[in-house]
């Protein structure tokens, strides 16, 4: 064999195009929408309304000093809810710091999701039990974890798909590249889900990437890239569900880019007026993900009084419960500082714990 017999590049032979969407894929408002199950439409509607209410309640909690900070996903509810609904119980989700709604929609207790932002502990839910990795603040660093977990599951013969979430800004990190490459080389059952909401804090898309779309990036790794309207809940749901199915069936990873918009400031502490016009925000309200669902439900005669009141009652109940429970002071034990640093505390940590214990006793005594 000569050196020339070694392939130095891989001609693609699969007929499926890696980049099928010329523009963001839509379902709502197209003839295809009429084929959607009424049950799916009403479920999406109810969950999006509930999600928006959650964002509003959490933001209110920052004003009352109950949360240190809150990054709202208002405007991105379709992405958040569809991400959770596309998965089966055994699948895993690797959320980024803004993805609280997806985690709640996955079934995690809304209060536990907020402990990170309340500040009583870092990750407040049982990741193993709910198959949700901790919310990742260091951007894009969770993406290789998703690949590793999905790979491990397949090595063990388990039917598990990992959904890895990242923002447009996070795609610029090296970890994004490495995760996609590993996933493609290993044909790992992973779905990468980029929510392109136009901004990374203040930095607009044009300063983040010169690619025609994030979906395009998939091609370079040898995986399909889908481009979807991130405010069209039915479209995101369909595309993610399809990508999960393909991963499950051994078809390898997919990169899904959802085009959406961050309606609120980066967090309650940010002043978006410094870097964008209100007019831009207003223009996006015309493509409000909840309104799009409502239009479809109306056109189908499914939007009635009973649906609205049921959905609203449900959202208010959730918000009231969240408010009540978040208004209770969390139980804090300073000695937790030393728990779980290692499987067994080191002698030094035991010493330091004793010192803190003595201080606390003295404080209590005085």
């Amino acid at each position: 064999m000569t050196v020339l017999d070694q392939p130095v590049w891989h001609p693609r032979t699969e007929p499926a195009p890696l980049l099928p969407d010329a523009e963001p894929y839509r379902v709502l408002g197209t003839p295809q929408a009429r084929t959607l199950e009424p049950g799916l439409l009403t479920e999406l509607y109810g969950r999006l309304v509930r999600g928006r209410r959650y964002n509003r309640q959490a933001t209110a909690l920052t004003k009352q000093g109950r949360l240190a900070v809150y990054p709202s996903s208002t405007g991105q509810e379709a992405c958040q809810i569809a991400a959770a609904l596309a998965l089966r119980p055994q699948d895993w989700i690797f959320p980024s710091y803004r993805d609280t709604l997806a985690v709640v929609a996955r079934g995690v207790d809304p209060v536990q999701v907020l402990t990170l932002l309340r500040g009583d502990w870092h990750s407040g839910y049982d990741s193993r039990a709910c198959h949700v990795a901790p919310l990742s603040t260091p951007l894009a660093t969770q993406l290789p974890h998703a690949v590793g977990l999905a790979h491990a599951a397949r090595l063990q013969g388990d039917d598990v798909v990992a959904l890895a979430m990242v923002g447009d800004g996070g795609t610029s990190e090296g970890d994004f590249h490495e995760a996609l490459n590993f996933a493609a080389v290993w044909r790992a059952p992973v779905v990468f889900f980029v929510q392109n909401n136009g901004f990374a804090i203040s930095v607009p898309l044009a300063k983040q990437t010169a690619a025609p779309s994030f979906a395009h990036k998939a091609v370079g790794y040898g995986m399909p890239g889908r481009l979807v309207d991130g405010n069209d809940a039915a479209a995101v749901h369909e595309v993610l569900t399809e990508a999960v199915r393909q991963a499950r069936e051994g078809g390898g990873p997919t990169l899904v880019e959802a085009v959406t918009y961050r309606i609120e400031a980066h967090t309650n502490a940010d002043d978006a007026g410094r870097y964008r016009d209100d007019a831009e925000v207003e223009a996006w309200r015309d493509r409000d993900p909840i309104a799009l669902l409502e239009q479809e439900l109306r056109a189908r005669g499914l939007f009635d009084e009973s649906l609205v009141s049921e959905v609203e009652d449900d959202a208010e109940r959730m918000a009231a419960d969240l408010r009540d429970r978040m208004n209770e002071d969390p139980a804090l034990d300073p000695m937790d500082l030393f728990a779980h640093v290692y499987a067994e505390p080191t002698p030094q940590l035991r010493e330091q714990a004793e010192m803190l214990r003595a201080e606390l006793d003295a404080e209590a005594g005085s």
Binding site: G119, H122, R274, L337, Q348
Partner: protein, 342 residues
């Protein structure tokens, strides 16, 4: 108006924050030297999440104060290339823990380029890192990472504790022909002092410690965010009859053995205070140097008051982790005083 009056007015000292002094230092550096370029996430239009670069993109243009893609390794790596071509980049890492993706560039290139190339390719670049806790920040927003940098030969590591030093040391860092890690104690960003942007106080160059409060009984050795805590402890200690000296190191590399040694030889006792983890921390190096140089002058072992050896805790528990006045006084009390106190 006479010229003297005009000068007096222009140099009038007014309350200024450390953030304002840092902003002014960057502005003056950009104005004085066309090779200075700022790079970072959100530093342009927004002016940085802490507003340290506020107004600079507007005044000097996007190419002098650039919003980069969100990638710390990319920011530092491109800054290396810019410095190789003769520019003087000043990069901002948005928070302490978000500098970690740039670690490879820092350790493998920034710190050793001069050495590898026998001085042909020095890297005159400044890496600004808001660091430390005490601001109620959630996970990954409160790290003190100085020990990692200190243990990387080739890097200067500097941290200001006052408004005047913030300006002076940042100017010195940018002017330096070596790479400087410039650690900004974020909980001091809004601390204030009377200061004149038009006649900033003379600050000695990088590498000189300063006695912030003279005293006779013992030396509190500290830097950055712990300086005000030590000063407060020194005030409180007066009631117990201790006259504590507070030494602000300002620069951890280069390290000012001379000022430190002189102080401890005078007082005979020392406590090192910093908020990063104690084990393998800067305090270990400092205690060792003091012991090596002042052994025969010491009345007691050098003690350390530091953060615990744990990942930085969540905001609701951080007060238990940070060195407090009480913890410092407890350490002072353990410095083997004769019966009857100091």
């Amino acid at each position: 108006m006479t010229t003297a009056l005009a000068t007096a007015r222009a140099t009038a000292r007014k309350p200024a924050t450390m953030a304002q002094a840092l902003n002014r230092a960057l502005r003056d550096a950009l104005a004085d030297d066309p090779s200075v370029h700022l790079l970072g996430e959100d530093i342009g239009t927004l002016g940085g999440v802490f507003r340290i670069t506020d107004g600079l993109a507007k005044e000097f243009g996007d190419s002098r104060c650039t919003d980069t893609p969100l990638a710390e390794a990319g920011i530092l790596g491109t800054a290396v290339g810019m410095a190789m071509y003769g520019l003087r980049p000043v990069v901002e890492m948005q928070f302490d823990a978000f500098a970690y993706p740039a670690f490879e560039q820092l350790v493998s290139h920034v710190s050793r380029m001069r050495n590898r190339t026998r001085g042909e390719l020095p890297l005159p670049l400044t890496i600004r890192v808001p660091y430390g806790g005490g601001i109620g920040g959630v996970e990954h927003h409160s790290d003190s990472s100085e020990a990692y940098y200190l243990h990387t030969p080739g890097l200067h590591v500097v941290t200001p504790a006052t408004v005047a030093d913030a300006y002076g040391l940042l100017r010195a860092a940018i002017a330096s022909d070596d790479p400087v890690i410039f650690l900004e104690p974020k909980r001091l960003y809004w601390s204030k002092a009377d200061w004149s942007p038009d006649a900033p106080d003379e600050v000695p160059g990088i590498g000189q410690a300063v006695v912030r409060r003279p005293g006779r009984s013992a030396t509190l050795i500290t830097y950055g965010p712990s300086v005000p805590v030590c000063l407060e402890a020194a005030e409180a200690a007066e009631a117990d009859g201790w006259d504590l000296e507070v030494l602000d190191l300002r620069s951890l590399m280069p390290f000012d053995d001379e000022t430190l040694t002189a102080s401890v030889r005078r007082t005979g006792r020392a406590v090192v205070v910093h908020e990063s983890a104690g084990f393998g921390g800067a305090g270990a190096e400092i205690a060792a140097r003091v012991t090596e140089r002042c052994f025969h002058h010491l009345e007691a072992p050098v003690l350390r008051v530091t953060g615990f050896d744990i990942p930085y805790p969540p905001p609701m528990l951080e007060r238990h982790h940070l060195p407090s006045v009480d913890r410092i006084l407890d350490a002072v009390a353990r410095l083997q005083w004769d019966e009857g106190g100091a």
